[in-house]
């Protein structure tokens, strides 16, 4: 997977890679939405368009809306209606204080998590495997076999 071009990795033809991505997406998408709202309130449709514009992040745009509702119920975002220059009023989402704290925590956690997974996936962490414990003295062996 590390040899793939980024686009290929994000839109995999291999179903197994697709499943792995699905699992990762589900966990990270909520935090991605919170990160988008860090810069200020956003119209729900614009949030969806932003996420959809990033390859590999969202499989179906519609599932972002229930996710937004869930974040609101969890008290991480709040909504307000705002008049639209064209058409009906629009629902805008913004971070609550709790949501801002969640973004800060996620940002720190993600950095260390990404580093940890990178090191395992690339094999760097496995470069010098710990040698299996070997008896240091013939006596140890006889002790163990007793």
């Amino acid at each position: 997977m590390y040899d793939m071009e980024p686009d290929e990795a994000m839109n995999p033809t291999d179903p197994a890679v697709g499943e792995a991505l699905d699992r990762l997406r589900r966990g990270a998408l909520e935090s991605c939405v919170l990160c988008i709202l860090r810069v200020g309130p956003a119209y729900s449709h614009d949030i969806v368009r932003t996420l959809a514009g990033i390859p590999g992040l969202v499989t179906s745009e519609g599932t972002v809306y229930p996710l937004l509702s869930r974040l609101r119920r969890a008290g991480l975002v709040q909504t307000h209606w705002q008049e639209s220059p064209s058409g009906p009023p629009r629902r805008y989402y913004m971070l609550t204080d709790e949501g801002a704290r969640a973004v800060a925590s996620f940002t720190r956690a993600w950095a260390s998590f990404r580093h940890a997974v990178d090191s395992v996936v690339s094999g760097a962490a496995l470069g010098s495997p710990r040698p299996a414990p070997t008896p240091q003295h013939p006596l140890d062996t006889t002790m163990e076999t007793r």
Partner: protein
């Protein structure tokens, strides 16, 4: 052309309405409002049926949206089976039977309790203990009757003992009926 494009949106929303029937009303209404507003914005920019179909494809299957909206709903607890006939008879023997045929009918009720998985062994033991109090009262009554020329107070004590003998049956029934069902 515009009306054709809107028709795609209406068909999608109708399918969403059908798929979301099981959602709580507030979630269903919110999802409907969000998707309706999304379609209004997206379809307004569509020039052809193909564009509209692409919008719906990106939006996803309505069933997936509903599944996502229901993702954090508590899983409904599996329905508990109602009390079985044996359980009801056991409780009746202890409760009503305890008044008509004190101690004997309740003892039969407790024997029945042991035959159903409704009660744990410990609960059955505790029910026996309640009936044991009645048995002690009965023995005390015999002892009282054996006293020659009993004083007047003995009548009052005898009444209390009779009350205890009769009451332990319904008390045992009440205890058994209010215990949580054994897992």
């Amino acid at each position: 052309m515009m009306t054709d494009v809107t028709r795609w949106g209406q068909a999608y929303l109708a399918e969403l309405d059908r798929a979301s029937l099981a959602l709580p009303a507030d979630r269903r209404a919110e999802l409907r409002e969000q998707i309706g507003s999304h379609l209004d914005a997206e379809l307004a920019a569509c020039a052809s049926d193909a564009d509209a179909q692409a919008v719906l494809a990106r939006l996803g299957d309505p069933a997936d949206l509903v599944a996502e909206a229901a993702a954090d709903l508590p899983v409904p607890a599996p329905a508990r089976p109602g009390p079985s006939v044996v359980e009801v008879i056991a409780l009746l023997l202890m409760g009503l039977g305890g008044v008509g045929l004190p101690l004997i009918a309740p003892a039969m009720g407790v024997l029945l309790m042991r035959t159903t998985p409704r009660w744990t062994a410990a609960q059955v033991r505790r029910t026996w203990l309640i009936l044991g109090v009645g048995l002690l009262a009965l023995l005390a009554g015999f002892a009282l009757a054996a006293i020659p020329n009993a004083p007047n107070i003995a009548i009052a004590v005898a009444l209390v003992l009779i009350f205890i003998i009769v009451a332990v049956g319904p008390m045992a029934a009440m205890y058994a009926a209010t215990r949580p069902r054994a897992a």
